[in-house]
Each structure stands twice: as structure tokens, then as C-alpha cells.
Symmetry: C2
Subunit: 284 residues, 2 copies
DNA sequence: TCGGATTACGTGCACCGTAATGATC
DNA sequence: GATCATTACGGTGCACGTAATCCGA
């Protein structure tokens, strides 16, 4: 029987050039490697090495065998990777989102509907990145701003969110009923870093504005509450983090400031996720 | 390290359905197989079997792993086959021919030009079969009646052969200087079986003729020498087996009765065989 | 003489088989 | 109780490391 340690030995000898170097790389003695290669030749019934000179070297057939050995070992690694990945996928539900708010909504739903699975999520800044991750099966589902173009997708909207700004009462715009991005362009905003698509959206809509990006959600709130710098909120975020005392919340009325989140998966996987889709809230 | 005996075990369990049956098929004890599968699961860090019920059965991930295991084992078999085939090809020169006469010519040339190789040859009835064998790398070269169509071939003519008939002196055609197939159609011929393309050619040109096919060359000669039945010879065969006493040799004058043999190989292999081509005789 | 492969030799581990035990129908 | 799988136990073969040997530059 040709066991894999023989293939490892052969591949490493081709890589290292000599038995001695390969043996060191494999943490075995050169004697063991020498015997292993003799065994491999015996198993195959074919000489793989030129043993004429002082240095024993791979024959052309030995190189051919080493090529195949590497292919077999790659297949074996592929097996281990595929099996471990399948096992992981069995235990965890992984999804990405273009914004943090949908995660707050989904977290309790997912842990109720998929009690046997742990849930992993991450933020991205564009639908496009998440669509790619869906296609590569790197995630089970994604929260997008719109259904992706083309067939092969399954999903539906489940949450709407609208952006607004938090202003000090003395701010010249604090008395307005609503604002546009254009009104605020040039202000300096305190903003939390991980807010998904909102970040590039705000940069695009307010190119003259400077954003003081904070690494944590807490720090962002602290600075907004204890300074006169404007910050952001949304209708959804206001439900979990009340508007700070001494701040005025003014909603934005640009169409881009209100978005609808869609939970999306590949159509093939729709069956696995039907319980999740059924548990999503309806949009009023 | 995942050794191949673990993969064999897994694949056989999927095939057989139970550990017991698989263990019998693999000629090991069920205990050994059970331990082996535990080791495989330990190596992968993933459970491959449902051990809840009385019968331990493959989980979906176990089936996935078994699929990969079979693929790895197939790659391993492929490696052994490729290496053994490369080694064989290194030691033997194998070719096919549409007729026996070229083999008589080539045998001494090949053993002189390729002293390190043993030579294997076989007969086929058509160029087409041999071209396919060349394409499949089943043979190193082929003796054909013509260069194959298309690019990718290398070769040249090296021998010409003409067919004739051996008649008893009393035969009504024995005094002719030459004959056509049409003259002989309807006669009963004694003929050796393994004569390559000559057999279908003669059947095609003399559809009314009955051929008494002999299994050995010696038997054919004996019957021809000791009967009044007509037989065949060629100018080339006459050099090694003289015309029997009491027989008249009459050449055929149809164009199909004279052929030119070409030694052909795939163009990629032309370099390996240049010494052989150089040693071939020129056609007068 | 030196770097590197092979051979010799003793050791220990890992896999084996038998047999007892466990688990499920 | 029958049928499988797992666990326990003792044995053994095989791959290992050390060290001696061999072989070319």
C-alpha cells in the first residue's frame, strides 16, 4: 500500500534537492527517508532515483512520480478542507450586511429560528462585495440594499432605515424639520467607523465634510454627547440608543437617506433558509 | 497524517454499508476498521458517522468525505499507472504494422539502433486502427500504407512489397506472366491468418473466393506445398521463404497488389526516433 | 576528508486480532 | 437474543533513530 508519508517524502525530496535536506524539513532521519523511498520504489516496481553518483538524484520518472504525488497530496488537502468546511457550515450560520442595523434585527430572529447554529456576521460597504461572497459560498446569506440583478437569487425586504443628524441646540440648522446632505456639506462629523454602506454614501454626498472616524460605538456616542460636533443617528438606532440629552435629532429628506434592507441568499439555498425568511418582519 | 488505508476504509464502508461487511471486504477485523475510522475522524477533527442508532452509519459529511476519498485514491492509482507506464515505455519500443513483411525488415534495424530497448510489435488490418493507437500513445510508431492525413505526423516510406500467387504447374493460369485479382476470383486459397491489410484487401478484390485461413505460418506453407490449392507469396516473403518446389509463382499486376510501407510516429516524438528513421533503407 | 546515501541494529509505537462489552432493534 | 459497533488487552510488525559503512568529489 502506498501511504501518504511516502508521497510527502518524494515531494519534499524534489523540493529540497537532497535526501538530507528533505529529511530535515520533514523532521525525520535521512535513514528513515532513504528507507521510505526504497519502499516507494518497491511498491511501484519502478526505480525513481539515479543511485549511480555520490548524490542520489531523482530520475525523469521520479520527477513524474513527484508531480503526481503532489497532485494526490493536494487532493488529500482538498478533502480535509472540504470536510472541515462542510462541518463548520453545519454548525454556524454566517452572513454579511451592508449596515449594522439589520444585524440588530436579525440577531434575535436567527438565534430563535436556528437554535442549533451559532451565528457569525460581518459588515461590508457595498452590495457588490457581499454578492461575491454569496457566489463564493463564503456566506450563507447577505443583507443588501437591493436584490442583485440576474437569476439565481432568493430573498425579500424586511427592514427600512432612515438617516438623520444629531445637532447641538445652538446649531444654526437645529430648528429645521428636515435637512438635505447639501445643507450639511462642509460640517465636521463624528462618526463610528463600522457603519457599512453609510460611510461611502456620506462621503459621496458631502465631499467637503471631514469625518472624525471613531473605532468604537461607545466612543462615538461619548464624543457626540460631550461636544458640539454633529453626529448621525437613524430611526432604527434611536430605538436601542436614545437621542442624547441636549441634542436635537433632525431627519434627512434625501431619497438616499432612507434605505430598505433585503435578506438574500442563492436560490439553491432558499430551502435551507425558508424558516429564516418566514420569521422576518414585514415592512409596514 | 491521513494515510491511505483510512481512505480505503472509508470508501469501502460507503460501498458496503456496514463496518462488518467492509471489514470482511478489506480482510481486516471490524475492530481494526472501527479504530481506523475513529482515527480518521480524529485527524479531520470532524465526525463522519452517526453513532446514535445501533448501526453506525455515514453522516452527510461522511458521504462527502467518502467522495473525496475515492477521488484521492483514484489519483493515487493514476500515479502508479502513469509511473509504471512511463517506466515500461522507457524500456520497450512498441509499434504496430499493417503487414508482417515490414516487421521482418524492422526487427534487425530496431535491435541494432535501440539496443537498450526490447521491441514489441503487433499486426492490424487498417491504417486507421494504428493511427488511433498512435494518438492514444499506445504505440511509439506504426507501419502504414500511407502518411496519415493532417499535421502532427512524422515519417517516411522505407519498403515496397508486391503480392503474387503460388499455383500448381497444372493450373490453367500457371503459364501466365502476370495476373489480376479478377482472374482469380472464385478460386479457393490457402492463406495465413495474420497478414494485416492483405486479408481484407484480398476479400474485397475477390469476393467470390473462399479463403482457408490457417493459424500458423508453417501450416500454411505445408498445405500449399502438399496440395494443389493456390496460395499467396510476395516479393519480400520470397526472400525468407523460398518458393516451394513444384510451385509456380505468378505476380499480380493490379496497382493494389503493390504497396509502399511508411514508418510513422507523432511529430512530437520524431526527435526520439530520428536514429530509427536514419537507419531505415531507402526505396530504390 | 567530507557531505551525503545506504546498511545494520535495537527499540517502541501503532496497528492488528481476539474477545469481552455495549447498544439497539 | 441477534446483530453490529466499540472497548479492552496482549502481540507483533514496521517504521523509527542511532550509528556504522559506503561512495564520490
Amino acid at each position: 500500500m502506498i501511504e501518504t508519508y511516502l508521497l510527502h517524502g518524494l515531494a519534499e525530496i524534489e523540493r529540497s534537492g537532497t535526501f538530507t535536506a528533505a529529511a530535515n524539513a520533514l523532521f525525520v532521519s535521512q535513514a528513515a527517508l532513504s528507507r521510505a523511498m526504497q519502499k516507494l520504489e518497491r511498491e511501484l516496481g519502478v526505480a525513481l532515483f539515479d543511485r549511480s553518483g555520490g548524490r542520489t538524484t531523482l530520475s525523469p520518472i521520479g520527477h513524474l512520480a513527484a508531480d503526481h504525488a503532489r497532485a494526490v497530496l493536494a487532493a488529500l488537502d482538498g478533502m480535509a478542507a472540504a470536510v472541515r468546511e462542510a462541518d463548520r457550515a453545519r454548525r454556524v450560520f454566517r452572513y454579511g450586511s451592508v449596515a449594522p442595523a439589520p444585524v440588530w434585527t436579525l440577531a434575535p430572529i436567527l438565534s430563535r429560528v436556528l437554535p442549533a447554529k451559532s451565528v457569525e456576521s460581518h459588515l461590508r460597504e457595498t452590495d457588490k462585495e457581499l454578492v461575491r461572497e454569496l457566489q463564493e459560498d463564503a456566506i450563507d446569506a447577505a443583507v443588501l440594499l437591493a436584490m442583485p440583478p440576474g437569476d439565481g437569487w432568493s430573498g425579500r425586504p424586511f427592514l427600512r432605515e432612515s438617516l438623520g443628524v444629531l445637532l447641538p441646540p445652538v446649531h444654526k440648522l437645529a430648528r429645521r424639520k428636515s435637512l438635505r446632505f447639501a445643507d450639511l456639506d462642509g460640517e465636521t462629523f463624528v462618526v463610528f467607523g463600522d457603519i457599512g454602506f453609510w460611510m461611502p454614501l456620506c462621503r459621496a454626498k458631502m465631499p467637503k465634510t471631514e469625518f472624525l472616524v471613531q473605532g468604537t460605538y461607545g466612543a462615538t456616542g461619548q464624543i457626540v454627547a460631550n461636544s458640539t460636533l454633529p453626529g448621525f443617528y437613524t430611526d432604527v438606532s434611536a430605538l436601542r440608543t436614545p437621542i442624547p440629552e441636549g441634542r436635537v435629532a433632525v431627519p434627512m429628506r434625501d431619497v438616499e437617506a432612507t434605505v430598505t434592507y433585503h435578506l438574500v441568499c442563492r436560490a439553491e439555498r432558499a430551502g435551507d433558509l425558508s424558516a429564516v425568511f418566514d420569521a422576518l418582519p414585514e415592512i409596514p
